[in-house]
């Protein structure tokens, strides 16, 4: 378990690859310029291939995006356990439910918008209502499919999936944690929704990351405030924390990869120990991670809190890093929100950024 002390003495990282820490820098794009990156959809494809070797019950269902998600590799290796439904996500989801009634473990692969919007009726009534053992593997989660534009940006996927009974909702930050999540889902009884990034994100962690469904992981220590982030925003949260460290603020960062079931204990501990919380997600601010954290805080431990996420708007086509800057999701936006919640803390102080 790697845990090293950073040059900022008030903070320490957990599980973050040591070589990544100096690359975090101060700006949104810094780790993207230097660190090794991969779209987590590809990590899914690698993980499912390995899972297929170990578990003969695992089948992969595609809806004509196997070349985009790399699940065609599973189809090549296990042709008899691969089913391409064509552009027909509704049929795929209900068929996955049928397969699960016979003991198979289907991973139904498509984009987040199609899994959670077009096929939502099937996902709700055929998969979650009977609590069948279907894993929904969704690429293009959040606004990570930058260039593809709004129709392909699954900016509501976490909100929608969190509202469905019997759901488990996971949005991992990078490739290693994505692989661990894909494997954890296979032994988790019941439906699991996995949200992947379409655009490349820096590889932050190693395979020694203690991934457990429903357990948030503190990846950076700090006492002045906490950033709770998931999916692609974990990287931005780390950059924001680093930026604030230069200002003398010690900011805790929690990778809250599981939005449901939520790790309320980790959230309340952070609330008690740091007194201010910012959530960061590339989902809309309604109903996703920010809402989930706010629900816990308002009921148990109200403290200054702010949500970073997509506001009441659709985004647009553009390079990923430019989109997150334009739509208020960058490290700078997160850092500013942290300063604001610290200022709202009783006796807290605000330090303007350069």
């Amino acid at each position: 378990m790697a845990s090293i002390t950073h040059r900022v003495e008030t903070s320490a990282y957990h599980y973050v690859r040591p070589e990544v820490i100096p690359l975090l820098g101060l700006d949104t794009h810094d780790p993207f310029a230097a660190a090794f990156q991969q779209a987590t959809r590809y990590a899914y494809a690698e993980a499912i291939l390995e899972l297929g070797e170990k578990n003969p019950d695992v089948v992969v269902l595609d809806a004509d995006v196997s070349k985009s998600m790399n699940t065609y590799k599973f189809a090549e290796r296990f042709p008899e356990r691969s089913f391409n439904f064509g552009v027909a996500e509704q049929n795929m989801m209900a068929a996955a439910a049928g397969m699960a009634t016979t003991g198979l473990i289907p991973y139904a692969s498509t984009y987040a918008v199609f899994a959670t919007l077009r096929a939502l009726d099937q996902v709700r009534n055929s998969i979650h209502y009977p609590c069948l053992n279907v894993k929904i593997a969704a690429s293009h989660g959040g606004i990570t499919p930058g260039p593809d534009g709004v129709t392909h940006q699954g900016q509501e996927d976490l909100s929608i999936m969190r509202s469905i009974a019997n759901s488990t909702v996971i949005a991992t930050a990078d490739s290693p944690t994505t692989q661990l999540a894909v494997w954890a889902a296979a032994v988790w009884e019941g439906p699991v929704y996995l949200s992947f990034s379409r655009d490349p994100v820096p590889i932050l962690f190693d395979m020694d990351y203690p991934f457990e469904i429903g357990r948030a992981v503190t990846i950076r220590e700090g006492c002045d405030a906490t950033i709770i982030a998931n999916r692609d925003m974990v990287c931005q949260a780390l950059v924001a924390a680093e930026r604030l460290a230069r200002e003398g603020l010690g900011v805790r960062v929690i990778d809250c990869h599981t939005v449901k079931p939520l790790d309320t204990q980790a959230i309340l501990q952070a609330a008690q120990e740091t007194g201010a919380i910012v959530t960061a997600e590339s989902n809309v601010i309604y109903g996703g991670l920010g809402s989930a954290v706010a629900e816990v805080l308002v009921e148990h431990h109200p403290i200054p809190m702010q949500r970073i996420g997509v506001r009441d708007t659709f985004a647009e086509s553009g390079p990923y890093l430019e989109i997150i800057k334009k739509y208020g999701l960058s490290a700078q936006h997160i850092a500013r929100a942290v300063q604001q919640v610290i200022a709202r803390k009783e006796g807290g102080r605000s330090r303007p950024l350069r």
Binding site: V59, E80, R81, F83, F85, G86, A88, Q90, N91, M92, M93, A94, A95, A96, A97, G98, M99, A100, T101, T102, G103, L104, P106, D121, Q122, N125, S126, Y129, P130, C131
Partner: protein, 282 residues
């Protein structure tokens, strides 16, 4: 408590059982004062033939992995399913009085986790055929010889997802999957031909590369023959287009759209039961 009925039954026994199931349907919907009699009655002969003659099932072992599967994709008609399961011995008939009530094993639309013998949760139209397709694919993958039977409605085939499933079943040559189209010509609002025509239905399914058979869905010998033959067709899925009468067996319910989702009054129920009692002595 009556002993569960034995299968396989003769044609005469099947006809008597279908009448008993129709009486159960009227009874349970009347007690519940809620439910869908029309489409339950139209499918009664088909469901009876499946459970009491054709399907390989064991009521004492409803989760038997090698059993034939049955999915009533037109899930609002579940009273016919519940009646057949109860008559077949999956659970005690006294449960029929609890339809749509709190804590009942019999939900308004069928729930596989609550009702023994229900192989798939249904209710939102256009999903059961896809679920059956998934079960059939699993059967092929694991070299199982069970057969999957899915009853769909003619209003239901207005759902686009039905045709997604139709395409896929032909792609994968699922000869272990049979759909039975309960073509009763009516849907919730009006005649199917008025609301959204589905004709020519047989040509549509043929164009989707299914083996298509058309029968009178109330003639028991025809039903049994078509179901038995469907099991022998190889290399493609079969659809049995069953021409039926919505509300079949109850004169004032027959061909009346209003009886899609309306419970009879006690007086109406009495009339209905008398008519159905007569049919048993035929």
């Amino acid at each position: 408590m009556k002993m569960p009925q034995q299968a396989p039954m003769s044609i005469e026994e099947l006809q008597a059982m279908a009448a008993a199931i129709r009486r159960d349907i009227i009874h349970m919907i009347t007690v519940a004062q809620s439910g869908h009699p029309g489409g339950s009655l139209s499918a009664a002969d088909i469901v009876t033939a499946l459970y009491f003659r054709v399907m390989r099932v064991d009521p004492h072992n409803p989760d038997w992995p090698d059993r034939d599967r049955f999915i009533l994709s037109k899930g609002h008609a579940c009273p016919v399913w519940y009646a057949a399961l109860a008559e077949r011995g999956y659970f005690d008939k006294s449960h029929l009085d609890t339809l749509r009530k709190l804590d009942s094993i019999l939900q308004g639309h069928a729930d596989m986790k609550k009702t023994p013998g229900v192989d798939m949760t249904v209710g939102s139209l256009g999903q059961g055929l896809s679920a059956g397709l998934g079960i059939a694919l699993s059967g092929k993958l694991r070299r199982k010889d069970y057969h999957v039977w899915v009853v769909i409605g003619d209003g239901e085939i207005q759902e686009g997802a039905i045709w997604e499933a139709a395409m896929a079943a032909a792609k994968w040559k699922l000869d272990n999957l049979t759909a039975i189209l309960d073509l009763n010509r009516l849907q919730n609002d009006d005649f199917v031909a008025v609301t959204m025509p589905v004709d020519p239905a047989a040509e549509k399914w043929r164009a989707f590369n299914w083996h298509v058979v058309e029968i009178d869905g109330h003639q028991m010998p025809e039903i049994v023959a078509a179901l038995e033959r469907a099991k022998t067709i190889q290399g493609r899925p079969t659809i049995i287009i069953a021409h039926t009468v919505k509300g079949k067996g109850v004169s004032f319910m027959e061909n009346v759209a209003a009886w899609h989702g309306k419970a009879p009054s006690p007086e109406e129920a009495q009339r209905a039961l008398e008519e159905l009692g007569q049919s048993i002595r035929r």
